[in-house]
Structure formats: structure tokens, C-alpha cells
Amino acid sequence: MRDTSPLAVFASLPEERTFLRTLADVRWGVLVTAILLAAIGLATVHSASAEMEVDYLPRHALRILLGLLVCAIGFGIDYQVLTKFSVPIYIASITLLVLVLFVGRAAGGARSWLGVGSAQIQPSDVAKIAVIVLLSRYLAGINRRHLTLPQISLALAVVLVPMVLVALEPDLGGAAMLLPPVVGMLLVAGVRWRLLLAGAVVALVIGAGIWNFVMLDYQRQRVKTFVSPQSEPLGAGYQLRQSKIAVGSGQLTGRGYMQGTQSQLRFLPARHTDFIFAVLAEEWGFLGVAVVLILYALYVRNGVTVALRSRDRKAILLVVGLLSGFAFHVLYNTAMVVGLLPITGIPLPFLSYGGSFMLANFFATGVILGIDFRRYVNR
């Protein structure tokens, strides 16, 4: 691995030998898969927006470039510094979430966007990273085989505050997305089986409560539609049905790039954002789907390697948190597009059009790479 790395050539320079060797030794595979996925996303967004008023290709390209910059920043910041300032970061992100409730821009029925000049960010993306950073610091400090109930409760409380705020926007999907990184971190930090079981029961009860008292009609309708999509072929089931038709009609090799009838003839809504994968599946067929899924698997695999060879609990938990969130997005979105899970606004990392989510993922990639880079320094 070390010798075949493209940066190995720098490692042979006699002077800055240690630095360069370490640099060459970083798991660049994480970045390579991220860039490949972003490139595929760029092409697919172009195809998906071919029939729209604007071509999203330039904007998406700009965001990828910005993403690479953010990635470099994430790489450059020592994660020790991040965790050191985790409390102020957390408080700042909560402030943003409160702010968005009052001055946020509405999109799709929820006030979830903050405008800064012409740029827009989704504070829930910021909050997610803030929660991961804060919890990695907190959980790393508990040097035990298993977490106690109060410790778990405190960790959950940390995530519950931003979750409630996001749910108030109301963006239930976004709120739910805050949970998987925390669950991943807790599992790795150590939760007893019986606690896990009890937690599952409690989650079920809370879920039922949310269904009855918190969810809005349109949200309930989405879940209902998922259960029987044929009931309303032109109502709420439309999206699900059109997505499945798009995916299925791709067959093995696809309709061909820019040839997908479901997307090009506008049958598929949200095709450049949450349903970008349906466009890809239609135009590239199962082969395209397999390539993308393998790229995601490689990303996660490389990330896990970083976690496994890190020697710092904080770093391990940080990587686990970031990867858990990433993996959950991939699993949920792809399962939703093929009709396995109810539709909710969960984008696909690196592929979906969407600025702040793209930046958040590139930032996380940078942080993971930075951790790998500093694995000998921070013991």
C-alpha cells in the first residue's frame, strides 16, 4: 500500500521525510471514492435537470469545488481543536437552529434554510457535526466497558435538543437523521444488551406517540402511502410509484445517459435531489446502481480502516459518528428510492443536489482524513 501510493514519490525526499511519509500514508481512498461519487452525481444532476428551467450542473460543480475546499479545511483543523471547542460549537449550532425558526426560508413546507447573502445553509447539517464532535469528546472521557444509564441519557439529551428544534421547523426527516450517528457512537462506546432492548421498546412507544400527536397529516400520509402505494396512484403514492418505475425500467444496462423517460419527461419529482438515485438507476441500470453502491461500501470501508488504526478514543468515536450518519443516509435513501422505506427528505451523500449537505459530507471526509494523518501524533 505504502509503495503504490501516488504520493510515495514525496516520501522518498530526504528532508521532510516524516511529514510526507505520513501524508502519503493517509487513507486517501476515502477522498477518491468521495470525488468519484461527486463526479457521478454531477453527471446525473445534469441529466436530471436537463428538462428544468435551469441546468444545475454549474451550481453543483461549484459546490463540489467548495466541498473540496471545506474538505481541506476539515483536514487542516486538528480534531483535538474541534473537540476542545465542542461546547461553543454545539451552542452556536443550537443558536442557528433557533434562528432558523424565526428567519429561516421555507422549502417544501419547512423552514429549514438560513440565508447568508446568496448562499444558504441548513443548520441541521451543522448541528449534526456539532453533536458528533461534542459526544465524541464526552463519550471518550468515559473510560469504561459499558455506559451507564445516566451517561446514555445525557448523550441522548445532547442530541434531543437539536432534534426537537429541527422537528419544529418542521423537518422530521432531518430531525431523525441526527440520531443515527449518536446511536452508532453509543453502540461502539458500549451499551448493554438489556439496555438496548429496553431502549428499543421505549423508542417504539415514543414513535407511536409521535405518530399520534406530533406528526402532521402530510407526514402521516407519506407513511400510509408507503404501506399501500397502489391506493392512490396519482395522489401521495405518485412519487413512490414513479420512482419504482424509473428504477425498474432501467433494467440491467439502463436506458442510456440522458435517455431516461421517467426523468426526461418529468414523471419523477425531486429527481435532482432526493431521487437522484432513481435517475441513475433508470439511465445506467443495475450496473450503474452496483457501481455506486460499491463506491459507498468502499468509502465506508476506508473510513472504518481509519477508525480501526486510530489510537485515540476520541478519534475513533468521531469517525464512527461521522460514518454512521453517512452510512445511514446511503442506506435510507437507496432503500427509499427502490420502495423499501417510506419517503422522507433524506438526500444521498455526494450525489444529491444540495449545498450544505454536500459541504457537510466533504467536511466530514476531511475530518476523517485529518484524523488518519494525525494518528501518530495524538496518542
Binding site: G248, Y296, G339
Partner: protein, 594 residues
């Protein structure tokens, strides 16, 4: 070293999470495999249904003309309402909306939609035809609210002469389920197909084949591109053998009568007139008449839907004497000079048989017996011939079998003989019945068309022609019948005398041609004495027949008239024959001189 230990603990847990991720990803991947590869063609079809909009191009049905190029059936544009269920958000609301504009009930429309239950969600449903322009305008105005409704320009069949040609031409109806489900059926649900008459008989030629315009549409139904175009090919026009003018004359005669008239060319079987009364207006059927209207038609007095020319059988009465006379002469049982005394009645087999003329005809030989329609003469001739020989000759003349005309539903009639009596009635044939049959009464049944066929054989000297309605079909080679030519010659001459020597058919006499014919009167109720039919209730009155041809030297037209409960053939039926001959020969004269 405790810190170290705890790090190891963490590291042991990570691969478990990674394994969970890989398993879930593999599960999702296999779902994609299932949807894309296993079910792929199904979804490809759904995608095509999404994007391809099929617009049928209706092939105009062939027009129908009479023998002189006069248009009988036309097509006019018709605005039809079609429903695309896949575009309807709420079917009940859609139907309510349409019902309101159409002025029909929702249940009615639901029934129409129900007939399409088996077909694809994407195939359009024909809801209503022949919309008024204001209805078309309302549907167009609400197009955005109700994209599921569309106006389809189709063709409406117009029978220009309505009831006049109803029984010959028939009408169209929604295609029957069994025709739809037939293998290689070219029909779609809601298509119209010929239900009766010519429309049914020549369905294959008249129909043509519908085209289809397949357009690529986007999600808003906006056409983007032509995908495939199949041109419609119009049905073939049909020229009938009918003569509209003669048909009109005959129909006028039947305005206040019940019965049938048929005229055909004995040389080739061309049917010039086919009238059945009462009639109905087939244009009502073109607009899919509702149930109550249909019920009224079915229950109407004298069954207007029946084509009496070929679906109604009656005893031929004295017309049958033509058969018996020919049989007697051919068999050598009688000759022209044998005479029989008619005293108004005679005793055979210990039973008294009455002649229609109470006073009797005195001594009559065959020619006179035909001319005066003397029953007594034929009682004795029938007795000599016996039922088997009578039946044999009746069948030679085409009685008891369908004539083979193209219109469906033709009755075969009945020529009785002892074998039939045993088989059907379960009793032996009584010799006395032969005596009744000899004058065309009793269990012998014929249709007016069979009688016309029989008259054609008499007229053309022993050739059987099949009545035909398609002018351009090659005429079938006439079949020569095993009959004595001189016997036929004798009968023809006697039939001339019926009309021209103050016989029973005198009222069919015309100046332009030499008409030969025979009257017939069929008793409806058994009469114990001589009662004039006029004094009876309508449904107890005799049926009147007149069968004829002209001219005797060169026969070119056979006319058969049957008037139900019309009384005597000489008074009720023969006058129409005269009208038709006058019309025919004067018109022919005009055509020849011009």
C-alpha cells in the same frame, strides 16, 4: 493497561457495525436486482405507458349505396367523450362532473366504466357519443380541472332513409364480448360492429381498420414527439342490388299495413326490394339507445325488429298450387285437358273440403284451376300425387331450406311429409292432411323470400338463383333444377292468365309488361263456412299473398307481397305488385331511352 483495554473494546465493536452496514447494503442491492432485472420488463412497460399516449384514428366505415349509386348509409363526424382513468384523481368525482354536463345519471356512467374492468388502466373509455357543441365546449373549458376527459372525433353512422331500409341494412352495436375475446380479434372494447342485416353480413368489408397515433407525452400530458403512426384504412364501400325507388314505393304501400315485400331479378338473384313492416329507425341505435327505448321497441305491436321477408314463416296458401301443378304435369298425373267438376266443395276420405268459391267453378281444367285458384281441382290433384311427391317438388323449388341470402337469421320454413310427422309430431301422417297441403294450407311454412326464389325458378325456366344483395359480387352460376320445361311453360302461361284474363290477380295487370302471378289467401282461424275476412277482427283476418313475375316472355323481376291479416290476396297484395312493375318498367324505359 486500562486505557489501552478500553480502546480495544471500541475497536472490537466497529467491525460489527460495519458488518451490519454491508449486510443492509447487500439487501438493498438485491432489491435493486429484483426490481431492475427480475421485474424490469414490467416496469419498462409501465414507463412506456407513462410516456406513450395512444390516440386512436377511427377508420371510416364503408358507405352503402343502392344499385343506382344512391347513398343509403353515410358517416358524419361525431364528438365523443372518452375517459382516461389513469388521469383521474377521483373517479367518482370525475363521473359526477361528466354526468352533470351530459344530463345523465352517475350510475349509468359507472355501468359504462364497469364494462372496462378487465382492460388496462391506460386504455381510454368511451363515455358518450355525439356530444352537442355546447357540451364539447364545456368539457374543453374544464380541461385543466379534468384532464381525464377528452373529446374524440369519431364517425356517426347515418341511415339516410331510416326505417325504409332498416331491415336490409341492419345497424351497429357495441361489439359483443365473445367477438372481443375471440382469438386475433381486431376489436377494442367500445368498438361498434354490425349487429344485423348488411352491416353484420359485410362487417369485414365495411369495417376497415383503425389506425393509431402514438405520441410521447411528458408528465403533464403535453405531446413531445411522434412515436409511431399507423394510418387508418377506410372500410370498403358497398353497392347493393336494392333499388331505392322501388323500395320507397313498397314501403309507402305498407305504411298502414303489416307484412313484407320482396322483389328480385330471376336472372341473377339481385334483390331490388326488401321491405318489412312495421319498421324502426336504425339511427336510434347509432346513438346507443337506452334500455327503455329498446324495451319499447321489443314490446311494440307487430315486432318491428323482425325482418318479415326472411324471418316470418306462413303457409303459402294458393301460391303452393304452382308447385302442385308443376309436379302433376312433370309426373304425368294430369295434363292440360283433364277436367274436374267443382261444385263449391268435394268429399275426399269421407271429409268435406270446401272451395273458396261457394258457388263452385263448374267443370275446370288445369289452366282454369290455376287462373281461378280452384281448390277442388287441386284437392284431387294432391290426392293423386300423394304427400311424398308434393314434398319432393316443394323442395326442388327451394322450400324448406334457407335461400342462402347473406342476411343472418333466415328461417328455413317447413315442408311436411310422413317422416317429418313421425319425427316431430310423433304421429302418422293423415291422408286428409295431404289434401290441405295441396292448396298450401296445413303444416307447410314458407318465408316471402323463399316464395320469391320459387317464383324465380318458374320465371327463368328451372334455374335456381341465390338471392343476393351485393351488386359487385360475382353472380353464382344458377343451378339447373330437374323440372319438366314444358310443365313450367304451361304454368307460366296459366299464371299470365291469372293476371291478364280477369283471374284472381287482375289488379296486378300493367300496360308496360306482361305480368304473371298467383294470389294466395291463408286462413288464420278455421272457418266453418264462407266468411269474408273484412268482417273479422284484425288478428283473425286472412293473410294475403301475391307472387308474380314480369314479363312473361323475358322475366326480369319477381315480386312477392305478403300482407299479414290483409284479407284476400287479390285485393290486399296484388296492387303493390302492380305499382312496383309500373315503376320498374317505366323507369327502365326512361333509362334505356336516355
Amino acid at each position: 493497561m486500562e486505557v489501552r483495554e478500553q480502546r480495544q473494546e471500541l475497536l472490537l465493536r466497529i467491525p460489527r457495525l460495519r458488518l451490519a452496514f454491508v449486510i443492509l447494503l447487500a439487501l438493498i442491492g438485491s432489491s435493486y436486482w429484483f426490481v431492475q432485472v427480475v421485474q424490469g420488463s414490467y416496469y419498462r412497460e409501465l414507463a412506456d405507458n407513462n410516456r406513450l399516449s395512444k390516440v386512436p384514428i377511427h377508420a371510416p366505415r364503408g358507405l352503402i349505396f343502392d344499385r343506382h349509386e344512391r347513398l343509403l348509409v353515410d358517416n358524419v363526424p361525431s364528438y365523443d367523450l372518452v375517459l382516461d382513468r389513469s388521469l383521474s384523481r377521483d373517479l367518482a368525482a370525475s363521473l359526477d362532473f361528466a354526468a352533470e354536463i351530459l344530463g345523465r345519471s352517475r350510475e349509468e356512467l359507472e355501468e359504462t366504466v364497469g364494462r372496462y374492468r378487465g382492460s388496462s388502466l391506460f386504455s381510454p373509455i368511451l363515455i358518450a357519443e355525439s356530444l352537442s357543441l355546447s357540451q364539447v365546449a364545456r368539457f374543453s373549458a374544464e380541461r385543466l380541472e379534468h384532464p381525464e376527459f377528452d373529446i374524440d372525433v369519431g364517425h356517426l353512422r347515418v341511415y339516410r332513409h331510416g326505417p325504409l331500409t332498416a331491415h336490409v341494412l341492419g345497424y351497429l352495436g357495441e361489439v359483443a364480448r365473445e367477438d372481443l375475446e375471440a382469438p386475433e380479434s381486431a376489436y377494442k372494447p367500445g368498438d361498434l360492429a354490425g349487429r344485423r342485416g348488411i352491416e353484420r353480413a359485410y362487417e369485414g368489408r365495411l369495417r376497415g381498420s383503425d389506425g393509431e397515433r402514438v405520441v410521447v407525452v411528458d408528465s403533464r400530458g403535453r405531446p413531445r414527439d411522434d412515436y409511431r403512426n399507423t394510418a387508418a384504412s377506410a372500410g370498403t364501400d358497398l353497392h347493393l342490388t336494392l333499388d331505392l325507388e322501388l323500395q320507397q314505393e313498397a314501403a309507402r304501400y305498407f305504411e298502414d299495413r303489416v307484412g313484407a315485400a320482396v322483389a328480385l331479378d330471376p336472372r341473377n338473384g339481385d334483390v331490388l326490394v326488401m321491405v318489412s313492416a312495421p319498421s324502426y329507425d336504425p339511427n336510434r341505435f347509432a346513438r346507443r339507445l337506452d334500455r327503455s327505448e329498446w324495451q319499447a321497441l321489443v314490446e311494440a305491436p307487430h315486432n318491428p325488429l323482425q325482418n318479415r321477408v326472411l324471418q316470418n314463416t306462413h303457409s303459402p296458401g294458393s301460391l303452393f298450387k304452382i308447385v302442385v301443378a308443376t309436379a302433376g304435369l312433370t309426373e304425368g298425373v294430369v295434363n292440360g285437358s283433364d277436367s274436374v267438376y267443382c261444385g263449391g266443395s268435394t268429399r275426399i276420405y269421407n271429409r268435406r273440403f270446401r272451395c273458396w268459391k261457394r258457388a263452385g267453378h263448374g267443370w275446370v281444367h288445369l289452366r282454369e284451376a290455376i287462373k281461378e285458384s280452384c281448390d277442388v281441382y287441386f284437392y284431387h290433384l294432391g290426392q293423386k300425387l300423394g304427400i311424398s311427391r308434393i314434398a319432393h317438388y316443394a323442395r326442388l323449388f327451394g322450400l324448406g331450406t334457407p335461400t342462402g341470402v347473406a342476411i343472418a337469421g333466415e328461417k328455413r320454413g317447413l315442408v311436411p311429409d310422413p317422416e317429418w310427422s313421425l319425427r316431430v309430431r310423433g304421429s302418422t301422417w293423415y291422408p286428409g292432411e295431404t289434401i290441405s297441403v295441396a292448396i298450401g294450407q296445413g303444416p307447410i311454412l314458407t318465408t316471402p323470400l323463399q316464395i320469391a326464389s320459387m317464383m324465380a325458378i318458374v320465371a327463368n325456366g328451372g334455374l335456381r338463383v341465390t338471392p343476393r344483395l351485393d351488386r359487385d359480387a360475382p353472380a353464382a352460376e344458377p343451378e339447373s333444377i330437374d323440372l319438366n320445361r314444358s310443365a313450367l311453360e304451361f304454368v307460366r302461361e296459366a299464371l299470365w292468365a291469372v293476371v291478364n284474363e280477369k283471374g284472381t290477380g287482375a289488379s296486378a295487370r300493367v300496360d308496360a309488361a306482361q305480368v304473371a302471378g298467383k294470389t294466395g289467401t291463408v286462413q288464420v282461424i278455421e272457418q266453418k263456412s264462407w266468411i269474408d275476412s273484412k268482417d273479422l277482427q284484425f288478428e283473425h283476418r286472412d293473410h294475403a299473398w301475391f307472387a308474380s313475375f314480369a314479363s312473361v316472355e323475358r322475366p326480369e323481376l319477381v315480386v312477392v307481397v305478403f300482407v299479414e291479416h290483409g284479407g284476400k290476396g287479390s285485393r290486399a297484395a296484388a296492387p303493390l305488385a302492380r305499382i312496383l312493375y309500373e315503376r320498374h318498367f317505366s323507369a327502365r324505359g326512361l333509362r334505356q331511352s336516355s
